[in-house]
Symmetry: C2
Subunit: 129 residues, 2 copies
């Protein structure tokens, strides 16, 4: 039996029709979560531990859940890793231009300039190297 069926709580992903704009705005109004989103824009898929954020693993898990349950990200399991992607197409189909307007706005602001998010492959990334 694959791991995805054995998890105590299955990964819940809302359908695009269920997206709530207020939930999405709330999800993206946190600096850590905004960093996650920006990182995913320049990396197709990443494992949880490879994000350039400075919080405890359990905190990161919490932020992923907020993003996932609002529809911003999708997570898929493979072995011990959990791969995360941005649901850019789903978001854009439901709310055209929203994601782009928000991230662009953030990156043109002062806060966005302070911490440029590095692009590049993340599938074999080791944060301790």
């Amino acid at each position: 039996m694959p791991r995805s069926q054995r998890r105590r709580t299955a990964l819940t992903h809302p359908e695009p029709e269920e997206f709530d704009v207020l939930d999405i705005l709330h999800a993206m109004s946190d600096p850590t979560r905004m960093t996650i989103v920006r990182t995913l824009r320049s990396a197709p898929e990443r494992a949880c531990g490879t994000f350039p954020v400075d919080v405890a693993p359990s905190t990161l898990s919490h932020h992923f859940r907020v993003l996932r349950e609002s529809g911003v990200i999708r997570q898929r399991e493979e072995g011990t890793r959990r791969w995360t992607t941005l649901r850019a197409e789903d978001l854009d189909r439901r709310f055209p231009g929203l994601l782009d307007a928000i991230v662009t706005a953030y990156e043109t602001s002062a806060a966005g300039r302070e911490q440029p998010v590095a692009a590049g492959r993340a599938d074999r990334h080791d944060p301790r190297s």
Copy 2:
């Protein structure tokens, strides 16, 4: 001495350069505040008591403060009234397309359809009539 100079706390309005996207997203992620913003889009200027929201006056004051201090609205005093406007131009100059993308997204969602915001003049509006 006019009232605006006698208030214990003066009305603080951040400059467009000081706008913080995360603050704006947080400000607009609340249903009551979203209603305020949507109402202001279809009414040039409104007094505080004329908004179609169902909260206590003190709660409304709180929401106005959140919106004002994040740069979303501007408030000006005149007699006993406090006139509120949307800072659409300032917002659009600083973060092009952001306000429109957010409000449009909200109004195309289910939550937006449930409570259409009425347009019309508000300068002489009497909620008890």
